[in-house]
Amino acid sequence: MDLTLSESELAFQAEAREWLAANVPAEPLPSMDTEAGFRAHQEWEATLAAARWSVVSWPREHHGREASLVEWVIFEEEYYRAGAPGRVSQNGIFLLAPILFDHGTPEQQARFLPSMATGEQVWAQAWSEPEAGSDLASLKSTATRDEARGGWLLNGQKTWSSRASFAHWGFGLFRSDPTAQRHQGLTYFLFPLDAEGVTVRPIAQLDGEAGFAEIFFSDVFVPDSDVLGAPGDGWRVAMSTAGNERGLSLRSPGRFCAAADRLVELWRSHGDGVPSAADAVVDAWIKAQAYRLYTWGTVTRLAAGGDMGAAGSVNKVFWSELDIALHETALDLLGPEAELDSSWLDGYTFSLSGPIYAGTNEIQRNIVAERILGLPREIKAAGR
């Protein structure tokens, strides 16, 4: 058992740190949920890609460095420590790409991965529907076969689609077999957001920014070449994404360690006014360290061929609650100024979405109780 980095890992770390120090924009970019900010973040992705930092774990032919999991975590730590911009291409590179690598055809990989890596094309996820939130398997949007044109017609509505307001492509599940129930008869589609029949309606978040959107589909034609995996096999194909989203990918430890360090800074400047916040500051730091070490354990298991399993649910509850507690503590320290717009307030508002998206924490706790502790399923679920 050891936590030491190898020579090559240390070299990788040094290279990343050096490059980031030299290239991270001095001024924070405008919000990626504004048109100007979206473009600025795309340019940043291009800058990253040019130096092979946008998708470090990808193969070299797709702008990657074939970085190991350990190196990926190292890069993320350095990335957040450097205060680098948020990743506008996050949905694509973290949620879709793993599936493209596993289930995509060589043609699809060649067509989609490069522009994803450079940020030239930004992807939006289209999972939820108005009546299918936590209960994803109840989705109703349909895909009807169009033999003549060799593809499918998509109809229905998706919602809570982050980045969709300005993104270029979307990915999601549609019911291709109307007779099948729940997890059966779903197909995984890729579709351009400017396709005929697609309407994107931005939705303003609590803070007024269009962080996500509704997507309406009216006889949107998608050729067979844009189906990911086999028709009807969408659920199985998609679940690896859900695992990723809930688990390691979206919340690298660097994010929380950097935030905890900033919180300690804030304590230095504001702590005297709010002495009772001391324990909360310490606990945020402790939990960030715990999350970092926990991640190293996960990385060790994954590197040895293990999988996340339900640990992703343990993970998600912990980081989402840590994120809220950490930002609440920052607002406590800001005192009467807490209500004013600030990066802490932005972070707080964003943190509130943590226990909701990618499977609410209630769902995650059910999973932990049933799959890890082996407790009985809900009566309803068991009963029928």
Partner: protein, 317 residues
């Protein structure tokens, strides 16, 4: 010993409730956030006719000379309906802070006032529309003019720095300490109203929203979370009413702390049981979620009020 509202007080609460239910307060709040204060000002006028602005103002100065109990009744209603505007400033702080009968009369008639009282209230709400704007500092109350505009989590709270007018002389003032406590108490009542609204909207939502073939309100995790909100609000209310009776600074602080904790629990729970839709600006719930976040630290943060309680319990340390 009769610790519940009198029939008159219940009637007053009911009349405010029907007035506000009949006004589109959400539209007024949204317009106010967009700097269109017209609907809000109209609502302001209707509430002034009901006497809300003059509750704490002596009858001989044109007010109702009512008690702080009526004040918390009114502010709970203002909170429940997310009524925008500098109500705490005009109807709670200034009536106690100013002494001039003319000014008191004007406030009772519905003049819009606002005030900044650094450090606890560094910004004046809606200073640009206030007919009477003050800066309360160093035990003095000075006329002021609006300065830099700031925006915050609650877009209906239009915040301004203020600077004393050059020829500013301190006004004949009332009791600034009592004024601060009345403002904190009114804010506590507003938080209570916000919490009640958030709980009511959450309960109706979870009764109709279905997932996995059941109303989500039938899941024990959601039932217990909402039960905890009900319990927190039920025990915050008597503190607010008790502080209104005694106006003891320590009890006012307890009321503000408990109401803030209960309303914040209500807002976190409301967002969680609504899920993503609660996170959207167009869904009205967002008005109360953002307002609670702002009011928690307004007119004395929880840390300030807790420290004030501890000092009074153990003597300044």
């Amino acid at each position: 010993m009769k610790f519940e509202l009198t029939e008159d007080q219940r009637d007053f609460a009911a009349s405010l409730d029907s007035l506000l239910a009949a006004s589109d307060t959400v539209a007024a709040a949204r317009a106010w956030a967009d700097d269109d204060t017209t609907p809000g000002r109209a609502l302001w006028g209707r509430l002034a006719e009901q006497g809300v602005n003059g509750l704490l103002i002596p009858e001989d100065a044109g007010g109702l000379g009512a008690s702080a109990v009526e004040l918390v009744i009114a502010f709970e209603a203002l909170g429940r309906y997310a009524v925008p505007g500098p109500w705490v400033e005009s109807a709670a702080f200034l009536p106690a802070a100013v002494a001039s009968p003319e000014l008191l009369g004007a406030l009772a008639d519905g003049a819009v006032g606002s005030v900044a009282t650094p450090p606890h209230t560094p910004y004046a709400l809606d200073a640009d529309v206030a007919e009477h704007l003050f800066l309360a500092a160093d035990g003095l109350l000075a006329s002021a003019v609006p300065g830099e505009r700031r925006t915050g989590v609650d877009r209906t709270r239009r915040l301004f720095r203020v600077t004393p007018t050059t020829d500013s002389t301190s006004h004949e003032i009332g009791d600034l300490a009592a004024a601060f406590d009345l403002a904190a108490l009114a804010t506590a009542a507003q938080l209570l109203g916000c919490g009640e609204r958030l709980l009511a909207d959450s309960v109706s939502y979870v009764k109709q929203r279905r997932q996995f073939g059941r109303e989500i309100g039938s899941y024990q995790a959601i039932k217990h979370a909402l039960a905890d909100v009900r319990i927190a609000l039920d025990f915050a209310r008597p503190l607010v009413q008790g502080a209104a009776l005694s106006l003891e600074p320590r009890e006012v602080s307890a009321a503000k702390v408990a109401a803030a904790d209960a309303a914040y629990l209500a807002s976190r729970t409301a967002l969680q049981v609504h899920g993503a839709i609660g996170y959207t600006a167009e869904f009205d719930l967002s008005l109360w979620i953002t307002k609670v976040r702002a009011l928690v630290t307004a007119w004395g943060t929880p840390a300030h009020h807790r420290a004030r309680i501890l000092d009074s319990l153990v003597g300044a340390r």
